[in-house]
């Protein structure tokens, strides 16, 4: 059984017991354990069910490469699926549950899939669910939804209780990986005086070296690591981060680090995860290597583990995954596991070495300890279902005939090592096949290149294919120096630390065990545990013509999802290349994508959630709106009051009340969101003549003019009132959503086209609070406030004046978007809230009524004024809207003029603006189309117009609408049929509504009310 040993455990503190539960059962572990080591200590081998066949699965690895031990962690607002037990540090009260099982982990109905395994081959989904179509909805989809997916998403109503953040770091050298290679590279870079950031995904420095043994500078690796970390910590230019994974490498030296700040101490203050957004001049990838499984039948039975992982659990946690462990290998390194187990007092019944002659010095050492070594042998199949009970051994060279059964409760396997090339590959680094090591390693001649066209990623240590301790240190030493050189810095010559470790005999590539495994064995030999891909699946894919490695990957799902090829890649490729009869380097390899292992959505979102999910812009009067029960309309990032319902009042009733009060007496609108752009300079008039379709250069000082702005395509882009402030300055009002865009548009033309014109712009949108005082009593209110002459004579319609009102400096514009007597008053924004209050107080005698955007919309529609975004949609030219009067015919040029001469813009029969009135007084549906006779080429009904704005007018007590209709202005009085959808409990059908074409100006067509 899997147990805690009497002694040992580099990371664990046996004085500190920690309680946790797994599937409701109570376990104890020690401080320093991972969830995986504590489960193994409690003999919990079975940790989950596989994705497709629901086969029982146990812990295979000890780190980020673990494919099986993915658990649901935490509860309620802290529940998270798919957490890796091998990288989850144990804490008191941890609650974990296994995934992908129903009804229980031990008894799983889905296991039937395993019995049906031969009916679930590669590409099963593609093949099976094509036909019949109706089966999708009622049969396939429900079944797949029930059984597919890894883990359960948190309940949609549950809010994540933790907070997350980003951190932008700039460094000269980023080193990913805190093993001996990363430390040595950091040391060299640091001594050159540059800024160094060293990140390690685990909670400890040193990587594998302290487990694997040997000496560095005559010190045990652990002591050398401690000494080197202390040396680095003492340096001011070095930053060290534990629990921080290098997640991805991107263009121009951008890298992401994923720091797990409080995962190991839940409930602690501070962010749970921090996403490091790093800009590095050079990146050293010292990410180590990952041991490969061997492909033999039953290699997924719980109790079969990587040989290095078995060693890790013994050394780091004092946990033995088995009492009797068979070691199976194609290389010398796995002997270290056998020797360690034996020395720890555990039984090693046999070492099966696939190599005909076995290994070197380590084999001898094992034999000297009395361990039985069987060269040229392999595993035919693993015995046992929910856990290993033994192995059947066979000749590696044969088809799998059993020679002997050996009883055991664990199998430690090693198929050799593969460098972790992920970060190298993320940004385009290419790989080369290393025949000696039987792995892909970074090709230094095809490194990822940066902004200067030169390489910016350097692989170091075993990540670069240098597996031996001395070789890894030498490589890392060179990498540190190379990073310095690449930055044009010098470094001190220093010797490579001298390391010693037992020499190893060459490995023998073994891609299938035994070499000629029978079909029934191949169907149980797993390549990708996580995605349940077997040797037979890849062979089938090859037979079916998926010869490209990228196609085979997608067809079989090999190496997809969180694995990203960590365990499965080389073994799968080797099987594919064998099936294709092509060497591995020619077969090629798939590309691993960031992140290296999954990172949390919280980390990606950072602080952007809840109240600061996005910026919400506030006007100076926003507090008042909030306090007065405003209903909101979203306008870009602004929230503008839609209306102000009184207690018990519906929105519709509030809108009607606001309109009537304004038309009959006095209304007040917060118009601060309108864009206000100052355009100044000797060429400002000429510039505005290009920006607007109208002539702005001739606007007299003191006057206002409504203007239209088109893009170079001729389409209407924005509109607003332009004000001539002085001889050389204009103020351009834009739509609320358009201020930033219009300002950028102006700057674009000034900087990039007419750069010799003397014009400056300034976006003054936020400098002013702007308030529209609207209605027949507007003038009386301003006169009551006092301070300037606002009479018709002093300030006629479409003029402006500076002055003071109620002791506040103001600029008053006599413009109207409602058809009423109206003053728009701009005050410095800091005074906006106070001035708004003064208007409300003084206006009480006229029942002053603040109104929202809906009342504004209705009143402008009653007057036939267009609204950008309603009447225009990016395909409408001003001529379509009957705005010919605003398009200067005298000007040779303006933006969009040439495009408006294109045949389609000038053609007869474009849809043009009209008013629409239903025959029954009802409100037309928004966006409804007017039906025409016949059908188009697609068999759809022809149309001849559509509704662009539609409202109930309380002023006229009926529905009014504006729309674009083919030849509309020539068809006054004609009745059109518009489609309408009627939807209630009993019906969901298309009906038609009849509406008459009328003038778009429904109210006060002569404009007598506004010009008083």
């Amino acid at each position: 059984m899997s147990t805690r040993l009497a002694t040992g455990g580099r990371f664990t503190d046996r004085g500190k017991q920690i309680g946790f539960t797994f599937n409701g059962r109570r376990f104890t572990g020690f401080e320093g354990d991972t969830l995986a080591s504590a489960l193994l200590a409690g003999d919990q081998l079975l940790v989950g069910r596989s994705f497709k066949y629901h086969r029982p699965r146990g812990i295979v690895a000890s780190g980020a490469e673990e494919p099986n031990a993915l658990v649901g962690l935490g509860q309620g607002a802290r529940f998270e699926p798919d957490q890796r037990a091998t990288t989850t540090e144990l804490f008191d009260g941890l609650v974990a549950e296994s995934q992908n099982h129903w009804p229980s982990l031990a008894f799983d109905v889905g296991e039937i899939n395993a019995k049906l395994a031969r009916f679930l081959p590669a590409g099963f989904y593609y093949k099976t669910f094509l036909w019949p179509r109706s089966f999708w909805k009622y049969v396939y989809e429900p079944v797949i939804r029930q059984s597919a997916g890894l883990g359960k998403a948190p309940h949609p109503e549950v809010r994540d209780a933790d907070r997350y953040e980003h951190f932008h770091a700039h460094t000269d050298v980023l080193i990913v990986g805190g093993g001996v290679a990363g430390l040595q590279a950091a040391r060299n870079a640091a001594h050159a005086g540059v800024q160094v950031l060293l990140m390690e995904q685990a909670a400890h420095w040193g990587g594998r070296a302290p487990v694997d043994g040997g000496t560095i500078e005559e010190l045990a690796p652990e002591a050398w690591v401690a000494q080197t970390v202390a040396e680095l910590e003492a340096m001011d230019n070095v930053r060290l981060r534990l629990r921080c994974m290098g997640a991805g490498v991107y263009d121009h030296g951008y890298a992401l680090g994923y720091e797990r700040v409080t995962d190991h101490r839940p409930g602690a203050q501070g962010p749970r995860h921090r996403l490091w957004r790093i800009r590095a001049k050079q990146i050293v990838s010292a990410t180590g290597a990952i041991e490969r499984p061997l492909s033999f039948a039953g290699n997924d039975v719980p109790g079969v583990m990587l040989a290095s992982a078995v060693r890790d659990y013994v050394v780091n946690y004092g946990v033995a995954p088995g009492d009797r462990t068979v070691v199976v290998t194609n290389n010398d390194d796995a002997y270290r596991t056998a020797i360690l187990l034996k020395q720890s007092g555990l039984d090693v019944p046999a070492i099966l070495d696939a190599r005909p002659m076995g290994g070197g010095a380590l084999m001898q050492e094992a034999r000297d300890l009395g361990i039985r070594v069987e060269p040229a042998r392999g595993i035919s199949k693993v015995l046992g279902g929910a856990r290993v009970t033994g192995v059947a051994i066979c000749d590696q060279a044969g088809g799998g005939s059993m020679l002997e059964e050996i009883a055991c409760d664990a199998v430690a396997m090693s198929g050799g090592w593969s460098p972790v090339v992920h970060l190298w590959s993320h940004c385009g680094g290419k790989l080369t096949w290393d025949a000696d090591g039987a792995f892909f390693r970074p090709d230094p001649s095809r490194a990822p290149t940066g902004a200067d066209g030169k390489p910016f990623v350097i692989a170091a240590g075993s990540a670069n294919g240098h597996l031996g301790l001395q070789e890894a240190l030498a490589c890392a030493d060179g990498a540190g120096k190379a990073a310095i050189e690449a930055m044009g810095c010098g470094f001190e010559e220093s010797p490579v630390p001298k390391a010693e470790s037992t020499a190893e005999a060459p490995l023998l590539p073994v891609w299938l065990m035994p070499q000629g495994a029978r079909a029934d064995l191949r169907m149980k030999a797993f390549l990708d545990y996580q995605n349940d891909v077997k040797v037979s699946d890849v062979q089938l894919a090859a037979r079916e013509g998926y010869e490209s490695v990228e196609h085979a990957k997608r067809y079989t799902t090999l190496g997809m999802a969180t694995d990203q090829g960590k365990l499965s890649n080389i073994n799968g490729l080797a099987i594919l290349s064998d099936a294709l009869g092509a060497p591995i380097p020619q077969t090629g390899t798939t590309t691993s994508r960031p992140p290296y292992t999954p990172i949390s959505f919280g980390a990606i979102a950072g602080e952007a959630r809840d109240a600061v999910f996005q910026p919400l812009r506030r006007t100076p009067m926003q507090d008042w709106h909030e306090a007065n029960n405003a209903a909101w309309e979203i306008v870009g990032q602004w929230r503008r009051p839609y209306c102000y319902p009184r207690p018990g009042e519906s929105r519709h009733a509030a809108v009607n009340r606001e309109i009537s009060a304004t038309r009959e007496s006095l209304g007040l609108l917060d118009a601060s969101t309108l864009g206000k752009i100052l355009v100044k300079g000797p060429d400002a008039g000429r510039f505005l003549d290009m920006m607007y379709t109208n002539m702005m250069s001739t606007l007299p000082v003191g006057k206002c003019r409504y203007g239209l702005m088109c893009n170079e395509n001729g389409f209407l882009m924005d509109d607003g009132v332009v004000v001539r402030l002085s001889e050389d300055s204009w103020l351009c009002h834009t739509t609320s959503g358009g201020a930033d865009h219009v300002h950028a548009h102006m700057e674009d033309w000034l900087q990039c086209e007419w750069w010799d014109w003397k014009v400056y712009t300034a976006n003054l949108t936020e400098q002013y609070a702007q308030i529209a005082v609207v209605g027949p009593n507007a003038r009386k209110l301003l006169e009551k406030l006092g301070g300037m002459d606002v009479s018709k004579e002093a300030m006629p319609f479409m003029t402006w004046a500076d002055g003071r009102l109620a002791d506040t400096p103001v600029r008053v514009y006599r413009i109207s978007f409602s058809g009423e007597l109206s003053y728009e008053i701009a005050v410095p924004a800091n005074r906006g809230r106070a001035f708004w209050g003064k208007l409300l107080e003084a206006g009480a005698e006229w029942n002053i009524t603040p109104y929202g955007t809906e009342a504004l919309h209705v009143m402008r529609a009653e007057k036939g004024f267009i609204m950008i975004g309603d009447e225009s949609d990016g395909t409408v030219i001003p001529q379509d809207l009957g705005l010919h009067w605003a398009i200067s015919k005298k000007k040779e040029d303006f933006l969009g003029k040439r495009a408006q001469q294109r045949p389609d813009m000038a053609r007869d029969g474009r849809w043009q603006l009209v008013g629409l009135e239903t025959l029954d007084g009802s409100v037309l549906p928004d966006g409804a189309y007017a039906i025409a006779a016949g059908k188009n080429a697609n068999g759809q009904r022809n149309t001849q117009g559509r509704v662009t704005s539609t409202y109930f007018s309380p002023t006229l007590n009926k529905g009014i609408a504006m729309g674009l209709v083919e030849h509309g202005p020539d068809r006054m009085g004609e009745v059109l049929s518009f489609t309408a959808e009627t939807q209630d409990e009993t019906r969901d059908e298309l009906t038609t509504v009849e509406a008459k074409i009328v003038s778009p100006v429904f109210f006060d067509p002569k404009g007598e009310k506004q010009d008083v």
Binding site: G206, G606, A611, K680, E766, N830
Partner: protein, 201 residues
């Protein structure tokens, strides 16, 4: 003055750093060529030097910030703005320049404390490290999702400005970034917490 209300007036939060919304601040935008003749005239009028690119000059309650190669921002007491505007307009009568009062357009915050650089690095992609961003420098960049300007006034104090409409957003984001337990110790290493120290090797 009671009518005058700066955005977030009085708002203050204490965390890894102190964040304080400043009272109304006079701000005048000057868009002009920063050539010798303009420099001379401006220097004479303001009694201030002209800042180098990406920096500010400061004298008493006035400062001049470099915003772009044709844009400067003059900071002065709020009440001193009308008079200064008049003087500027007179001095530059007939010159090609845009002088605008933007005192109410931006919100200003004072950020201070030893974790200043670490907190700023949580919200801006600009390089805030001591080598790259030294006292006296001005950098316009992002503050999370909005545009912001950063003026580093000393090693542990910065003045940050954003458009007034997003003052509330900026204040909340900064306060979150300065929340308890969020120490990073990247720019200032002295206090490596015991938690981290115990887990080495």
């Amino acid at each position: 003055m009671s009518d005058v209300m700066a955005p977030m007036a009085g708002a203050r939060s204490e965390g890894l750093i102190s964040i304080e919304a400043l009272p109304p601040q006079g701000q005048i935008s000057l868009r002009c060529e920063v050539s010798d003749d303009y420099r001379a005239k401006l220097g004479e009028l303001l009694g201030l030097g002209i800042p180098e690119p990406l920096s500010a000059v400061e004298e008493g309650d006035r400062a001049l910030l470099w915003m772009a190669h044709d844009e400067l921002l003059l900071l002065l007491p709020y009440d001193a703005v009308p008079e200064m505007l008049a003087r500027l307009n007179t001095t530059f009568e007939g010159w090609f320049i845009a002088i605008t009062d933007v005192s109410d357009a931006r919100a200003q915050f004072r950020l201070s404390g030893p974790h200043l650089r670490d907190v700023l690095s949580k919200v801006t992609p600009a390089d805030i490290s001591p080598d790259a961003f030294t006292p006296g420098m001005v950098r316009r960049s992002r503050l999370a999702q909005v545009a912001a300007g950063y003026w580093l006034r000393s090693a542990s104090e910065a003045q940050v400005f954003v458009f007034r409409s997003v003052a509330d957003y900026a204040f909340q984001v900064l306060s979150l970034a300065a929340g308890p337990g969020g120490e990073v110790h990247h720019h200032t290493r002295e206090a490596i917490s015991e938690q981290d120290a115990s887990s080495h090797v």
